[in-house]
Amino acid sequence: MNVPVETVPMTASRKRTAPTSRFASWREHHGWSAGSSLKRLAQRPFGTLLTVAVMGLALALPLAFYLLLGNVQQLGRALGQDQTINVFLQNDQVAQQAQLLATQLRGRSDVATVTVKSPQQGLDELAKLQGFSGALDALDANPLPYVLVIAPRADLDAPGVARMSADLRDLRSVALVQDSGQWRARMDAMLGVGNRIVLVLAALLALAALLVVGNTVRMDIASRSEEISVLVLVGASGAFVRRPYLYAGIWYGLFSGVLAVLLALAIEFSLAAPITRLNAAYAGKLQLGGLPPWLLVAVPLAAAVLGWLGARLVSAWQLRRAA
């Protein structure tokens, strides 16, 4: 160009614009995008609330299940600690044999305690239960065998308990083993299924939240196609055009994440009273937990990332179509 330099200050001022100043103006545009996108959301409070509410509910649901599952798990653990195995000996076994077996079993590493219940004790227990005393009077001999009440070690898992019961069943002197192991195994399996359900649910609902943000941002972009075409015509880069919409996605995500956490906390709060009662019934042995603090922070942050991602995918697709 044969143009004197002072008549093209654009070129000149671009050369004069130091990297720090360009960074400053880049940062300024980020600030402007964050602020103006927030303002636009505020200008359509109804639509914004609707999007945030739908997204927030979608994210709160897995949190609620997580909360529920965590408590069921704790409950199961607490109940599991109370579980004992009742070993009914053959009717021909006498006191001495029962004591001998009890001593043997106390030597096992997976056994915590063994109590021997005599037929008389069994009968006394039954007699205490209403309605039985009359029936018992009709018996001329005590039909009850010796019973060993075994408490497995508290940290023994379901397969461990099952193994122990199997060992006990194999003993010749044993008539019947009534064990809670099956119950524990079932519960562990159920919790495993529950955990998986929470994960799948969380993934599905996160996808739903992504779609909700994506669709909202898509409509945002569609309603501003004129502005976008002007920006593109005066030389805006894709990143520049996208920036406000990405911030909108981040805001939607952040707000709905906060909403989800608040909903989850409300559920936790509403469960607090019944759980306290339950805990009292278990003499304070239950340790029912709420949502861990890290989750309360992580959910809004993850939701913000989700919102950004939804906006990014949609804006890339839509702006490419507009170009």
Binding site: M1, N2, V3, P4, T7, V8, P9, M10, T11, S13, R14, R16, T17, S21, R22, A24, S25, W26, E28, H29, E226, E227, S229, V230, L231, V232, L233, V234, G235, A236, S237, G238, F240
Partner: protein, 225 residues
């Protein structure tokens, strides 16, 4: 500044909007492109800004072969071309100042420099005291001048305008054309498409005449009567 070499443009499913068009516009010149509606004036300007691509031929702008300009290069090219539209294309929800500032923000010029350049541009189109207003509160002629301020704020080496006076009365139209002539005197290459022959004749600049996509006359400024 601009070279068209045997350029043809056929829109999808349409006929030829431009046919074997060849002409140059040297640096710092001002030229009009005229012709009836449908002659291909807008198409010609769109090719310059890479809004459309030619079907055949080569277009060079400021030494750059436009066929090789893609992706980010298109945005960078447009930053060096000031564009004025018949319908001014202002962002109606932003102030006059913000509208004119836009090309500078895109380039990443600092706040203080932006304010200085925006005020200088508004001053040149005589709208300095309107900077805080929204475009909707301005008259059509004033809106068009804001559009022009936005096009020249970054002092682009090339200014193109498509029917910039289409919506204006003759007096205002003449004022606007006067503005373009003024930018030319400061070294900017100016290309204006207009079907208003009477107005063009008053300006005494080079005139390129299109008819059905062909160049039918290329009159130097002295030849315009």
């Amino acid at each position: 500044m601009i070279q068209f070499d045997a350029v043809s443009k056929r829109y999808e499913g349409g006929h030829d909007a431009l046919l074997q068009l060849s002409f140059d516009v040297p640096d710092g010149e001002m030229a009009f492109v005229t012709g009836h509606s449908g002659a291909g004036k807008s198409t010609l300007l769109k090719l310059l800004a890479v809004i459309e691509r030619p079907s055949h031929g080569t277009i060079t702008v400021d030494g750059q072969n436009l066929a090789k300009v893609r992706g980010r290069g298109i945005a960078k090219l447009r930053r060096r071309i000031g564009m004025v539209f018949q319908d001014h294309r202002l962002l109606m929800d932003r102030s006059v100042f913000a509208n004119v500032e836009l090309p500078l923000t895109i380039v990443g010029i600092g706040r203080a420099d932006r304010a200085r350049l925006v005020r200088a541009a508004l001053d040149r189109v005589g709208l300095l005291h309107y900077e805080r207003q929204l475009p909707a509160t301005l008259s059509t002629g004033e809106q068009q001048r804001v559009g022009i301020a936005r096009a020249i704020v970054g002092h682009p080496p090339l200014l193109i305008a498509d029917e910039p006076t289409g919506n204006l009365d003759p007096q205002l139209a003449l004022e606007i054309m006067g503005l373009f002539a003024e930018f030319q005197t400061t070294g900017t290459t100016v290309l204006v498409a207009s079907h208003d022959l009477r107005l063009i004749k008053q300006m005494k600049k080079r005139v390129v005449v299109l008819h059905q996509g062909r160049l039918v006359a290329d009159l130097a400024a002295e030849e315009v009567l």
